[in-house]
Every structure is written in structure tokens, then in C-alpha cells.
């Protein structure tokens, strides 16, 4: 399987000297195209930092990130921004949508920023899949948490990005809404051949993924293929993390 995103010996240091914190301490990992990967680890293990570096939101202290065949090191802020706009989708834990825009406008936002017109058939397909057809004219304040996350998922899919990053996408949701969002992420991988990288601390959420990557103290601790909530819990217990 061809990797969609690769990290090579990533190091991210905050501060300097005695107070230096190694948020990432030599992370090497590959994320296959059309694969759903979950990143797990205890709080402070560097999950968010890794995701930010992979997505071009933050620059690592050393090491290299590639999205498709593009190396991110040395890219200007503008080039990184354009890359995110065209080739990366995001679903954050909270504050995903602009309060001033309707759901439909939020979904089209990345295309709007690029000055591109959405493909109506694709838009229709995405909106239908996420069951948002009759919510498009509502503003975020008028949507439930689950609906808001579904709008964010639709937005991430609209540009058909190389990779979608999701940072604890179900962290603020009840289990039913969470399950909806996770099934959608999985179906977009299975049926639409999307690549998804999701940060989570929830074994149930990780169970939706094809693979789980475990982080501890800024290093890769291990991984599991075709995980189930059970196997993830077992791993965590065994590893004592």
C-alpha cells in the first residue's frame, strides 16, 4: 500500500536548556493511502503535536513530513496554507465551524477560500451521506453537537483531500452521535477511498480504525492492526500506559 502521509524521525522541542520539553522525540511512521489510522496515547504523549506537524499546521524542530510526494520542510507559510487548503481536511474536537456562516457555507468554505466552485454532484453526495440535506441553511448555533461534527466531516470531504485529520472528533459528543461520526469516517475510507488519521483516547473510537498507533513520551510505542475496543484495552493494560 502506497503511503499517503509519512513522518521521518520527527522531533519537536518546546523551550530550551533545562526546561526543554521533547513533545516529539524521533517519531517515524507511515500512514497508508485509503487507510483509517488512530493515534492513541496518554495525555501529554504528543498526539496533538504529531497531528499538527503532519498536517502542516506546525513545523517540527527536525525531521521530515511528506504528504503524497510533497515534502513539507522548507515550505513557506503561504505554501503550507495552500497545501492545507487543497490537500488536507480537518475535523477538530470543538469550535469547528464559523458562527457567522450557515452549515452549507461552512461546508463550502475551503473551496470558497480557493475561489473554486463546488462540484454539485459531489456536494450532493456528501451532504446526503451525512444526512444534512435539510440543515444546510442553519447556523452552527442552531445545530446539535453531533450535527456540527457532521458538518465538519462534510467540509473535510468536499475538497477530496489526500488526508483527513481528526483530533478527538467525538470527544464532546454523546455515544450515539459519536458512533454516527465514526461510522461516517470509516465509510468514507471504505467506500470513497479516503485516508483518515484520527487522534483519540477512546478505545471504542479506535476500534473503528484499520490500525492504531500508540504514542508515549513523544515516541512510537507500538501498533495494532484491525483493532477492536477489546484488543486496544488489552494493549493499553499490557503496556501499562
Amino acid at each position: 500500500m502506497q503511503p499517503s502521509v509519512e513522518a521521518e524521525d520527527l522531533v519537536k522541542v518546546y523551550g530550551a536548556g533545562d526546561t526543554a520539553v521533547y513533545a516529539l522525540d524521533g517519531v517515524t511512521a507511515a500512514f497508508g493511502s485509503g487507510q483509517f489510522t488512530a493515534i492513541m496515547g496518554p495525555s501529554g504523549s504528543g498526539k496533538s503535536t504529531l497531528m499538527h506537524c503532519l498536517a502542516g499546521l506546525d513545523t517540527p524542530t527536525s525531521g521530515e513530513v511528506r504528504i503524497g510526494d510533497t515534502g513539507l520542510s522548507g515550505l513557506s507559510d503561504r505554501a503550507l496554507t495552500l497545501l492545507r487548503r487543497r490537500r488536507v481536511g480537518f475535523v477538530f474536537q470543538s469550535f469547528n465551524l464559523l458562527p457567522t456562516l450557515t452549515a452549507g457555507q461552512n461546508i463550502r468554505l475551503p473551496l470558497d477560500l480557493a475561489g473554486r466552485k463546488p462540484d454539485p454532484r459531489w456536494e450532493n453526495e456528501v451532504v446526503t451521506r451525512l444526512n444534512l440535506t435539510d440543515r444546510l441553511d442553519h447556523r452552527p448555533a442552531e445545530l446539535s453537537g453531533g450535527q456540527q461534527q457532521r458538518v465538519a466531516c462534510a467540509r473535510a470531504l468536499m475538497t477530496r483531500p489526500d488526508v483527513i485529520f481528526a483530533d478527538e472528533p467525538t470527544g464532546n459528543l454523546d455515544s450515539a452521535s459519536g458512533a454516527e461520526v465514526l461510522s461516517f469516517l470509516r465509510s468514507s475510507v471504505r467506500e470513497l477511498r479516503q485516508t483518515v488519521i484520527m487522534v483519540t483516547h477512546d478505545p471504542v473510537a479506535a476500534g473503528y480504525a484499520d490500525r492504531v498507533l500508540f504514542l508515549a513520551d513523544g515516541r512510537v510505542h507500538g501498533e495494532l492492526h484491525d483493532p477492536t475496543p477489546r484488543s486496544v484495552l488489552d494493549y493499553l493494560k499490557l503496556a501499562g500506559v
Partner: protein, 852 residues
Amino acid sequence: MLRAALANLNHRKARLALSSLAICLGVAFVAGTLVLGASMNQAFFSSFAAGAKNVSAAVSPPSPGKARPGSSGDPSVPASVLAEVRSVPGVAAAAGRLVGQAPLIGSNGKVISNGEQPGIGINIPNDGALRGFAIASGHLPDGAGQVAVDKATAADEHFRLGQAVRVVDHSGVVRAFVLTGTIDLGVNREFGNSTVTAFQTATGFSVTGRPGYDMVVARAAPGVSQGTLVARIRNLPGMGGYQVRTGGQLATAEANDAVHFTQQFTTAILVFALIALVVACIVIYNTFTILIAQRGRELALLRCVGASRRQVFGGMLIESAVVGLVASAAGVLAGLGLGWALQRLFAAFGADVPSGPLALTPATVAVSMAVGVLVTVAASLLPARSATRVAPVAALGGQVDAQVKAKVGWLRLAVAIVFAAAGTVLTFAGMRDVTGNSGFVEIAGGGCVCFVAVLALGPVIAPPVITFFGWLPGRLAGATARLATANARRNPHRVAATTAALMIGITLMTLFTVVVSSAQASSDTAIAQHYPVDYLVQAGRGGQTVPPPVVRALQASRALGIVAPQYEQRATANGAGVRVGAIGRGALGFSVKPTIVSGTLAAVGPGTAGVDSSKLTALGTRQGGTVAVATPGGGSRALRVVAVYNSAGVTMPDVLISVGDYLRYFRPAGADDVLINAAPGVPPATSRAAVDAATGSDPLLVVFTQADYKANLAGRVNQVLALFGTLLGLAVLIALFGISNTLTLSVIERTRESALLRALGLTRGQLRRMLLTEALLMALLAVALGIGLGAVFGWAIVHAFINSAGGEGVVSIPYAQIALYVVIGVCAALAAAVFPARRAARTSVVAAMAEA
């Protein structure tokens, strides 16, 4: 957690800095305007303290001539009174003051006439302490052949000490004097713009031809009070008819005279102080409202951990009072600097404003500090009250930033509509009201009331206006402009409050421009319509005339078309005192165009007359009736009335007779003035040369041209515009600071949102452009409303002027100037957005997302 705390601290510092700056600038603006106003008042009064300086008692003629100093009919105080006053026990020194006409001949060989005022001559009291002026350079005349000139005139005419200057004496003889020094009269309004020459007392009498002094002033010996001295002088024999006042009374009377002259200016300064106050209040209040709204969560957290509402409130009270106090104190200091800068600026514009030491009165400090502290506290407590009223837990969870729709209360709407209606009615009433100044007061009141309505309606008006202006940028610039439009209208209350200050500035600038430009256009057309003369030749000294040979020479010139001498004097007709006059042939109906009520002016000839319609009743006559004009010889001539005219807007005598009859009845030495029009097709240079040739030999004759008059008027208008423009510009500057402040606070508030946009692919450039567009839209909102209001009320004021002038005048909307205001407003708003835009673009995406 550490990151969040650090970031929050950073923001709190930024917020504290911004709010302090808002208070400081607002207070500085108020204090600066007050300092300037007080300084000018003080300078006026001290200048009159100079006029009445050291004076313990003053003796004036029975009814001091107010109209024109030194005109021949003025009563005076004879020298014998001076001698008597000198002999009164307790008088240390006494002096006579003389004020009369003494036209001064300028470097061009012609009498200097500033706005038709003949030059003034004064004497130099021999008691140095009792002089009303200071020596600016050189020394005072110590011989009969010497003169001192006021320093402004000396500078204008490039006079040098020791040179000869020529003065026309009361009999019309030109006399040469040696210039020994220049004198500084301060802002003595008594002499207006006239030239002032100072002579030794005897010379002064012989030049001005005055029969006596205009005032005798005395200085008391030590230990003698002003009251005692005045009582002793009153007891002198033969003092019955004279007015005897104490030095204090004199100072007050003269200062009141001066304040009357400068009333408009003082009023203007007060109005500006008021505007400053309102603008400052708006800026401070708005800043604090936003700050507290942003701190809603913090307050809610305090409540959650057990702080009572009173504790939260007390904390806020102390905090805002301390910030308000410190920042206001800084503002007062800054205001002192601002007042100084304004004074320099006025001086640079050549405005006739007295400059003295800066006056920082306790009232200025108190008002400025009170504004700063009270507005700050009120602006903190009101929102804090509503914030603490919400259940603590609800406030914690709520998203601070989600407000998209404004809830506009019915009460607000109703009040706004009532105000708008009342304001409109008042304004229309004011436009109809032609009695004195009350119409303008009504319009000003109506304008203020309408303005309050617009302020109250701001949150309702703002969103559609912003959508309207955002349409085109949205088309052109795409998503960033559409996001900016959405952001600008997301909080209508805030945007309305933010733009209110700018709107005030733009409204007043527009209103002022419309009024001034209409006044100018009106006077231009009035000059052209009613007085379409090319030249006006006049004697440069009151009571003197244009000699007949000069009139004949002018009439003989082929370059000149109509040359019409005008004559006028007071006389008795049908037992009533009227102005009887004659106007040379050709001018009537051409250069001088009154409205004809009945008959025709062409019929006025030997034995006939025209009468002003407003005098028909007083004269008890009518068209076809008679007027009997008493002649100086003692006889009376009965003339038949062949024309009745309305002289509104035209200078015409009450009774118009033919030139031939006038010369026979009154035997004048010459014409009062001569109206001249160039012959058709003659270029201005040629006609001017012809006029100069005919008048050149006589230094006393002054030639006015319409071009001179218009240029003079335009110059004055531009000076006024520049002055007011500066003051209003300051208001606009403060308003723009308010916009910058709001934007910065909005940027802080929307940090998380900007981070999201940046993550989704908004480049730094796009983010900057988004904020610039938002500022642009706010500026356009303010500029559109301001220009609309300003133009409408300017138009109303001009109409009131026109109505009170009997339908004379035109409304002129200076489009270019208004377009300039739009450009200035927009550019300034963009400048105001630069700092917040840079701040937003600098923030790193990850750090911003870490905050919540």
C-alpha cells in the same frame, strides 16, 4: 494549560493597554479643547485688563459713541475735564485717550483699507502706566513729526523704522511722519482690522480733528480705593453729564464688548468641547463594553467558585475606577499638549486667535477627569451587571462569540421613531421660522434629536447597509470579503457604537462644508445679481468723497462703459428722517437692480422720485403721491413718486432722486462712491489700467474690484474651513482610534476562529485583507450615514438662511469635497485596521487553537 494561561495574560495586557489608551485619548481630546477655549478666554480678558490696566477711574462722554470710533458727531471729553481730574486729591496720574480717523497710506501709495475701515489714530498718554498698548519695537514718538504704527500693519506693509510714512489728516491733507516704533495692541477688538497710528497728543488732535478726548483715565495714589476716587471725581463741578466708572467696571464692560465680538468663536469652541465629550464617551464606553463582554466567563467562574454578586461588582468597581483614574490623569496631561498644539495650529492658519499661556483651570481638570472615570465605571458596571445576572453555569458554557443577530428592543425602536419624528418636525419648523436666530436653534435641536434617533436605530440600520456595501467587494474579492461582511454585521450593537463616533465627525464636516459652500455661492450670485459692477471707487476715509474731476475722468475713459457716481445723505422728507440718494445714469436696472413694485426707475428725473416700498407708510405716500424733501438751504422740494421698489439685498437709498436734483439740493463735494463697468469686450487689465489712471493722483481713493472681493471672501471662507476642519479632524482621529480599538478587541475575541480559518487554508494575506475589508465596511457605514445626515441638515440650515434673507441664496453641495471626505474616511479606516490585521496574521495557528 500553561499555554492558555500565558496567552490569556498576554491578551489581558493588550486589553488593559487598549482600554487605557481609549480613556487617555478621549480625555485628552476633551481636556485639549477645554484648555484651548480657556486659554483664549483668558487671553481676551487679560488683553482687556491691559486696556483697563492700572486704571482706577475712567470718565467717558454721556453716551459713548458705539458705532464708529471718532466719527465727527461723537461726543467727547474736553481737555478741561482732564485738568480737573488731575487736581483731584488721591489721583496719582491722569491721562486723556484719543481715538480718531487717521488713514494710513501704504507702500503702494494708496490708503490701506482693510474691509473699508478707515485707519485709526490714537494719542500716546504721557503716563506710561495708563497706555493701552505695549511697545513692540523702536521707541514711541517724542516729536510732532513722529509716529508709531501697529506691528501687524508695519509687517504687512514692510515698513522699516526711520522711514517716512504718510497719513491723511481730517482735512484731507497728506502729512508725512517719521516711523519711530511699532506698538502691540493685543487683541483689542475696538480697532478691528484697521491700521493704528499713534502720535503725541497734540499731533493726534491735529491729525484726527477730534474736539476732545474719548476718555479720561486716572490712576489712584496708593491707599485710595477705586470707589473713593470715582466718588470724588463725580463730585467735581460740571461732571453731571459724564459717565464715571471704576477701572473694574471699565474692564468688565470692555471685556463684554470683546466677548460679544468673539462670541461666535467661543461658542464654536464650546460646541467642539461638547462634541469631544460625546465622541470620547462613545469610544470609552464601547471599548469597555466589549472588554467586559469578553470577560463574561471570567466573572461567571468567580461566581461559580463562590464569589457573591456584590463581591464581583465591587471588584469591577475598584478595578475600573483605578484604570479610569490613572488613564484620565495621563489624558489630562496629553490634553495640555494637545491644547498647545491646537494653539500653534490656529496661529499657523493665521486665525486671529489670541495666544497666551495655556490655561489649565480646575474646571477643565475636573470635567476631564470626571468624564474619564465616570464613563469608564459606567461602561464596566452596566455590562457586568447583565453578565452577573445570568446563572453562573450558563455563562461558563456559552460561546462568547456566537452572537449573530441583534435583539433590538421594542422600546428602543419606539423611542427612535418618536425622536426621528420630533426631530423632523422641529427641523421643518426651524426652516420656516425667520424670526432672528430661533430658526437655527430649532434646526440644531432637530438635528441633535434626529441624531439620537439614528444612534438608537444604529443596530437596525447597520446590517442592511453593510450587506449593501459588502456586495461589490464580495463579488470582486470572493470569500474573504464575504467573511468580512458577515463579521462586520455579526454584532450590530457593537458596530453601531463603533461607527457612531466617526459618523459624528463626518456628519459635522459635511454639514459645515455644505453651509459654508452655499454661503459662498449665495454671496457670489448675490454680488453678481445685485451688484454686477466691475469696480467700485471710494474715498479711503469716512466723510471724504470722490472729487468731481475724478468722476469726469472716469466717465471720459473709452475703456469704461457705465460709470455711475452714487450720492446719499440723511435728510427729512414728509417730516420723516430718511436716506435720500441719487445713482448715476446707466447703473440703475443694470448694476443696481432692485425689485420694482410699481412704476419705473427710468422715470426718475427732475421733479420726480422713487421710494423704497418699506418706507411708504413712514412717508405717508404712495405711487403717484408726493414726497417733500427738506434741503440744507432751508427750503423744501415736492417730488412726485413715479416708482416704488423693494431694496432687499441691494444697497439703495430710501428716497431716490435724480443726480441733477441731488447736486442742486445738497451741493455735495463729490460722490460717495462710483460704480464702474468695463466697456463691452475690454479685457480686465485694460479697464483696470484706465481706472487706476483716473484715480492714481489721489492717494485717498481706493479701488475695489469684484474679483478682489470674491478672493477676499474665499480666503476668509477657506481659513474658517481649515480651522473647523482641524477640530473636526481631531474628532475623526479619535473615532478612528475607536475603530482600531474595536477591531483589535474583535481580533482577540476571534482568535480561535482565525486559527480555524488559517487551518482550513486562509493565507495570512487573506486574513489581513479580511480585516481591512471589515474596517472598510464600518467606515463606509459611518461615512454614508454621516454624509447623508450632514447634507440633509446642511441643506435645512441653508434653507433657513435663504428664508430669513427673503428668498435670496442658493444651496450648493460641494461634491468634490464630500468625495474627499469619503476617501479620507476610507483610507483612515484602513490605516486603523493595519495594527489589528498584523496582530491577527502574526498569531501562530497552533497557539491560537490551544486557547478556548
